[in-house]
């Protein structure tokens, strides 16, 4: 293969599409009728708790598992029955899976060698990649002699060495400490954009998902609950589970008192509120109101004019940019509030009133 082709591959418009993918184990939870499309050049993250099936999806795409049924298409080509080494996919493994008996440069060169590139091309490409991940001085060192962050970058360079059409990343930053993880998130994003590689990324860390993804798929129990950009999901979660998984949220039980033309009147711990009508809701229904902690307003008791809930400050934690308060409400539930406060405001034990703008309230009917 000519070196120019290496560049060409990433210029084409491949995308990944999973159709009715199912994987049945004898014991583990199954993946059932899983459908997903990843656009060319996009970084899509599968986000979910451990055991939700996200790693199964990744291993199916890599070819380490065979689906019970369903299809995997890359750029329109069906690769469902293709062996992993014929798929032309790059992968960064959890804990990196670097070859301990090979130096940094040899690890990066491995895939190029297996695909029969010429020596000169390999040498040049490895040098380029070492430069890309800023490890040129460490070319001759072995994995055991590298720090965690360096190993991570070698793994990334190895995965993109032969300019694969598709990159898979399985919790690639799980083993790093927080500071390094944040730096590497930006680094991965930079390299992924620079190479324009379609990427399927798996993590259970919501901040990481929000920082690096074009789109996020929230998964639970082998299904995608919601697919969208971080802000779409954060602002309009489809259900309580998603709302709770991406970001913090307070839930309040509500009861529908009456339904009018375009509005419904709801009685809740935050007082009686009027919200836009939801399909299928009738008087007497129970539903849940959700409010993000930073959308809550807090006032001294008696100072509030709008519908509000009264309570007592239970805990108060200074988090730097904001103060986090846990307030005990009259009905013995509690609510979380994030606000910019002075050190003297709302100390534990003080009676307070909580309120929230109607437009910031989410309604969950299930």
């Amino acid at each position: 293969m000519e070196p120019d082709n290496v560049e060409l591959i990433s210029e084409t418009m491949p995308y990944l599409s999973l159709e009715h993918l199912s994987k049945h184990y004898t014991t583990l939870p199954a993946l059932e009728d899983f459908n997903l499309t990843v656009e060319a050049g996009e970084l899509l993250t599968l986000l979910g708790p451990s055991g939700c099936g996200k790693t199964t999806v990744l291993r199916l795409v890599a070819g380490f598992l065979e689906p019970t049924y369903g299809k995997i298409l890359v750029a329109g080509r069906d690769i469902t029955r293709v062996a992993p080494n014929q798929r032309g996919i790059g992968m960064v493994f959890q804990n990196y899976a670097l070859f301990p008996h090979l130096s940094t440069a040899a690890n990066i060169a491995f895939g190029l060698e297996e695909r029969g590139f010429g020596r000169a091309i390999i040498r040049r490409r490895v040098a380029e990649l070492l430069d890309l991940v800023q490890l040129s001085e460490a070319a001759d060192r072995y994995p055991a002699e590298l720090s965690g962050g360096q190993q991570q970058r070698v793994a990334l360079a190895r995965a993109v060495a032969y300019a694969p059409q598709l990159l898979l990343m399985d919790e690639p930053l799980g083993a790093l400490d927080l500071k390094l993880r944040e730096a590497m998130q930006l680094e991965i994003r930079r390299i992924q954009r620079e190479l324009r590689i379609t990427t399927l990324y798996v993590t259970h860390d919501q901040t990481e998902a929000m920082r690096i993804s074009d789109r996020i798929a929230i998964m639970n129990a082998g299904r995608i609950l919601q697919l969208g950009t971080a802000s779409e999901i954060y602002k309009a979660p489809v259900n309580r589970y998603v709302a709770d998984f991406l970001g913090k949220i307070n839930f309040f039980r509500g009861e529908v008192l009456a339904v009018e033309a375009h509005e419904m009147c709801i009685h809740s711990a935050l007082g009686d509120v009027r919200l836009p009508y939801r399909e299928g809701v009738a008087a007497g229904f129970s539903l849940t109101l959700g409010v993000r902690p930073d959308e809550m307003s807090i006032n001294a008791a008696g100072a509030c004019t709008q519908p509000s809930a009264s309570g007592v400050v239970l805990e108060r934690s200074f988090l730097g940019n904001v103060v986090e308060l846990r307030v005990q409400l009259a009905d013995n539930t509690s609510a979380l509030i994030e606000a910019k406060l002075t050190d003297e405001q709302f100390l534990p034990g003080e009676p307070v009133e909580l309120s929230c703008r109607i437009s910031n309230m989410m309604v969950f009917t299930e």
Partner: protein
């Protein structure tokens, strides 16, 4: 804190030093005195015996033959064992346990019994030759009994199962994800094997080869019986020199030469491995030849690499080939045992001529007529194995704790000393204890020679490395914070040991103990030197019977012994509830 662990080493170390250095010194010393024959030695002659031995064509030939058959046996074990070990290590849990059990079962069968099966298979009138000549594949029957080929085959049988267990534990240390990484980087199955598995297992494989080589160099029963007394390897020659020629000084000289050869090869290999060891990618640590991971995995049923898709990744042809290879290896492993079991039901006359395969008729004649001496020998073997194993366990706990926890100087050397009984060819250990018994008897008037006590001490000596190795391995993985946690919860040192440390290491101790028990139960060379007229362990009884009168009832007695081994394995697994413990451990290790 670490200082006190050093004290744990004192008792095991003194015992080990006394038994190793003491016995070796006594036998080597004999080689410096004039040979008078009839077990007598004369004046000090320095190295004259060595000079004579190395000028003798008989002895020189024997040295070359021993080296040649040992190298061939080592190569054979690797070729047969590596693919099988790889498949087991990468199989799904249940399959792995079944396959491991098979290997273990054959490793626990005493050498004379395997040879018995081989003789039945390969004899001129035997099943194989009748088939080969009858079907016209060969004109004349193959004859491997009484020649070097036969000895190599016998030696491969002697070490193969052990080799598989060792290789299995080495491959288990190579993460499967590295194979995934190679695959996603474009490497096919063969390339992955060549570029990842082989380089990473190389140091371990070198260690295994060395172990198998040392085992073969000291193997006695397989060489003596398959060679039919015509292939004179050093162990066979040493045995004949002691018992037929009663030339004790000459036997000493030959043993010392054998010892030096084995130690030189070990040292050379050790230097080579040191090169590996200094590389930063040293991953498979140089495995002590005592690693019994396979055995422990079976006993406690955990850590068998779970749910690997070995087969889905291989193309159909490769899948069929690898399964065929594994299947063939099992046929090879089990054939002699199956033949012994089936032939034991032939019945009729006790003479050797009645041993035929396949049996002409089914009868329990030989079982009914099991000679009393076989029963007695069986009982002696059981008691002997039990006492020796119990003693080995007693010494293994402090030895393991001391090795792993203390900062004692030269821990590496101490560990090597504890491993010595495995490195020294067994036939030499037998000879050394034999001479030592006589030396002590002469000096203080005891009657150790031919006594049960001598057998117990010698067996204890060869069993210690198995139990120490197993305990050490599990202690190395022991999370020290467990003890800190117990202490913080108010447990004193003794309570911490009995409630936390001991339960956690007990699977290792137990696995080592079971294996040690079976090693003792199947030993020939040591017992052969030390057995007295009244105390003949079972394998020695079988050996004598095969070497001399060839009573057909050795078949039935051997079958009973194998059945006993099988039942013991099953009972141990059922009764101990170690599965429960294993599950809690698997949880702790993630």
């Amino acid at each position: 804190m670490t200082a006190r662990w050093g004290w744990f080493l004192i008792v095991p170390l003194s015992i080990s030093l006394a038994l190793t250095i003491g016995t070796q010194y006594i036998f080597i010393e004999k080689s410096f005195f004039r040979e008078l024959g009839l077990g007598q030695t004369g004046s000090f002659v320095g190295l004259a015996n060595y000079a004579a031995a190395l000028r003798s064509p008989l002895y020189l030939n024997s040295i070359v033959t021993t080296l040649r058959v040992s190298v061939l046996a080592t190569v054979g074990c690797l070729l047969l064992g590596y693919p099988l070990a790889y498949v087991i290590a990468r199989s799904r849990r249940r399959g792995a346990i079944v396959m491991l059990s098979g290997v273990l079962l054959t490793s626990l069968v005493s050498a004379p019994i395997k040879v018995l099966g081989l003789i039945i298979i390969f004899s001129k009138e035997g099943a194989l030759n009748r088939f080969l000549t009858g079907s016209g594949i060969l004109d004349a029957p193959v004859n491997i009994l009484g020649n070097e080929t036969g000895v190599v085959v016998g030696l491969v049988y002697y070490s193969l199962a052990f080799a598989v267990l060792l290789i299995y534990s080495i491959i288990g240390t190579i993460p499967v994800v590295l194979e995934d990484a190679a695959a996603i980087n474009g490497a096919g199955r063969v390339r992955t094997f060549w570029r990842v598995i082989i380089p990473l297992s190389l140091p371990g494989i070198a260690a295994v080869s060395l172990t198998v080589f040392s085992l073969s160099m000291g193997a006695f029963a397989a060489a003596a019986l398959m060679g039919g007394g015509r292939v004179l390897t050093l162990p066979v020659l040493i045995y004949q020199t002691v018992f037929l020629d009663t030339k004790y000084a000459t036997a000493s000289t030959l043993s010392a030469i054998l010892l030096v050869i084995v130690l030189l090869v070990n040292a050379a290999a050790g230097l080579l491995m040191f090169q590996f060891g200094t590389k930063p990618y040293r991953m498979t640590t140089i495995v002590a030849p005592t690693c019994l991971e396979g055995f422990r995995d079976l006993i406690v049923s955990f850590r068998v690499s779970a749910g690997r898709r070995l087969f889905p990744m291989i193309r159909p042809l490769g899948r069929i080939l690898s399964m065929a290879w594994v299947g063939a290896t099992y046929v090879v492993l089990f054939a002699p045992l199956v033949v012994v079991v089936l032939a034991s039901f032939n019945g009729g006359s006790f003479r050797a001529g009645a041993i035929v395969f396949p049996p002409h008729h089914l009868s329990l004649d030989w079982y009914v007529a099991t000679p009393y001496s076989h029963f007695r020998a069986f009982g002696i073997s059981l008691v002997l194995a039990f006492i020796a194993t119990a003693l080995a366990c007693l010494i293994a706990i402090p030895a393991g704790l001391g090795l792993v926890r203390s900062r004692a100087p030269a821990r590496g050397a101490i560990a090597a000393l504890f491993r010595m009984p495995l490195q020294v060819p067994v036939v030499i250990i037998g000879l050394a204890f034999f001479y030592t018994c006589y030396a002590i008897d002469d000096a203080v008037g005891t009657s150790l020679a031919g006594s049960f006590l001598a057998l117990v001490v010698a067996h204890f000596f060869i069993l210690t490395p198995f139990v120490i190795g197993s305990v050490t391995a599990i202690l190395q993985r022991f999370d020290d914070r467990l003890e800190d946690a117990a202490a913080s919860l108010g447990a004193g040192r003794w309570r911490t040991f009995s409630r936390v440390t001991l339960p956690v290491i007990s699977p290792g101790l137990f696995a080592g103990a079971i294996y040690a028990f079976m090693v003792s139960f199947g030993d020939v060379p040591i017992s052969l030197f030390l057995a007295g007229a009244d105390v003949t362990p079972f394998p020695v009884a079988i050996f004598h019977s095969m070497e001399m009168d060839f009573d057909a009832r050795v078949l039935s007695s051997s079958t009973i012994a194998m059945a006993f081994g099988l039942v013991m394995l099953l009972v141990v697994q059922k009764l101990t509830g170690l599965d429960k413990l294993a599950r809690s451990q698997a949880g702790a290790h993630g």
